[in-house]
Point group: C2
Chain length 281, copies 2
């Protein structure tokens, strides 16, 4: 009699893993040692054994160390090629070799570090324009973790505090890389108690959606706007569509914000949400 072996079943489903490109917004501190679910999903969606992966470590002040770790991981997984675009000056983005790399790769990975540094180096360069367009058109899988996640929206959280009521001074905003412009992303979310700062950010841009991503957790956005949660934590969606308020303190004020009728979803592994419909799937 045929006995199903759970081990081979699990291998079977791993082989059937979807390989469609996606934009993967990772909350930082993703598992790099054990199951590596998120990094493996990035590898698979970048083409698996056919993947040509570009690592951009420019958010980090130790790009060799930070980027090198991801190079090893994706090489070990069996990617066809993995190269590091070690951009330390804006001028380097004009290098034809790196331009070609971004045109020909199947996956791009933005490491953690400082989101302001990453934006200062990449914003308004032809290189990031290519990456953005190819990711938005579903030609490549683009992943960003921590600072690499923060830059996904048009409006970006550059820094902020916790331990206070939502208020205008609790969050510093800057301009991101507009990969998924309609989002304001925060990372290390529950781990660093960032709910109030994300609420403060969302209050200023009520047409946008706040997305708070925990460590070792990924909000994976597919073509068409479907978002799926991977990893061990949660993705918090703050939807201010119905928001009203009774005060509107000036920018920089520490006065607490009145924010009525926020809709909040705490999404776990496997939960799905549609960014354009603003509805659970």
């Amino acid at each position: 009699m045929l006995q199903l072996d759970p081990q081979s079943q699990s291998c079977g489903s791993a082989m059937l893993q979807p390989t469609k490109p996606a934009i993967m917004i990772i909350g930082g501190a993703e598992d790099k040692v054990h199951g590596r679910e998120i990094l493996r999903t990035f590898f698979n969606r970048s083409g698996g054994p056919e993947a040509h992966i570009a690592i951009i470590p420019s958010a980090s002040r130790e790009p060799n160390l930070t980027g090198g770790r991801y190079v090893s991981i994706f090489e070990d997984m069996g990617a066809k090629s993995v190269q590091m675009l070690d951009i330390r000056e804006r001028e380097q983005t004009n290098d034809p070799y790196w331009q070609r790399a971004t045109e020909e790769c199947t996956g791009v990975f933005l490491t953690g570090g400082d989101q302001l540094r990453l934006c200062a180096l990449l914003a308004d360069t032809a290189l990031i324009d290519t990456v953005r367009l190819r990711a938005q058109m579903g030609q490549i899988t683009l992943a960003g973790t921590s600072a690499g996640a923060a830059i996904m929206g048009h409006h970006m959280i550059a820094g902020g505090g916790s331990g206070e009521s939502p208020n205008r001074a609790l969050v510093d905003m800057a301009t991101g890389l507009s990969i998924v412009p309609e989002l304001i992303v925060d990372q290390h979310f529950h781990n660093r108690n960032r709910m109030a700062r994300l609420m403060s950010a969302v209050s200023m841009y009520a047409d946008l959606l706040g997305i708070g991503i925990d460590e070792d957790t990924c909000a994976m956005v597919e073509q068409g706007g479907g978002l799926q949660v991977l990893g061990k934590g949660t993705v918090t969606v703050i939807d201010p569509s119905d928001m009203t308020h009774t005060n509107e303190p000036i920018v920089g004020s520490t006065d607490p914000l009145s924010l009525h009728s926020l809709k909040i979803h705490i999404l776990c592994h496997g939960d799905r949400y549609h960014l354009h419909k603003r509805a659970l799937l």
Copy 2:
């Protein structure tokens, strides 16, 4: 020509301060030195110069020190009488003198300390039954700060953590004193990053309402269910009426909770909300 003196105007409005009894749920660390808005409101709603105030310091392990401070404050404000019901053993609640005090007072103030200690001393005693009934019937103003606020609901947050996704192990629940049974109260709310623990609590009792109160802030509940915010911080209302979820971890599990469609209001000074209608006013 008649000149209005702002000073006398302000005195005038102070004299017209509403004096209806209310239940005042205070998030801890209320201003005891400067404007003392919250404590002054308690004094006024307890009857002002006609007030007979009972302080119950039993949550505190230093009841004389903790309670004594409030005695001085309300004596300084000009209350007709202020006495401390320094209950350190359950048996003391049967003392006819203290029974009579709770029957005849116009205001009761529960200090901070440890909510489990307060409940252990007072739960199911005739003394707290008298206080609860009189407060619910609008005969007295009952205020509780910090631990004295935590005990207001039937289900009480006894302790918990922060820095994690909402999960069953993040909050320890116990039975409160059921002053406003439909609430789960948390205090020092944004100050101690307690959003995730209140969400975790509310997820277990989806027919209740979560109320998170910041320091120096008060959710004042009037007869009929109207809630008004006083003080310098915010009152966060977590309304799970429309909540759905895709998982239901067992009690004590650290697995993150999936919580969809929570409605959240961050209310500031002067904002009003109706507890029974679950609507902003």
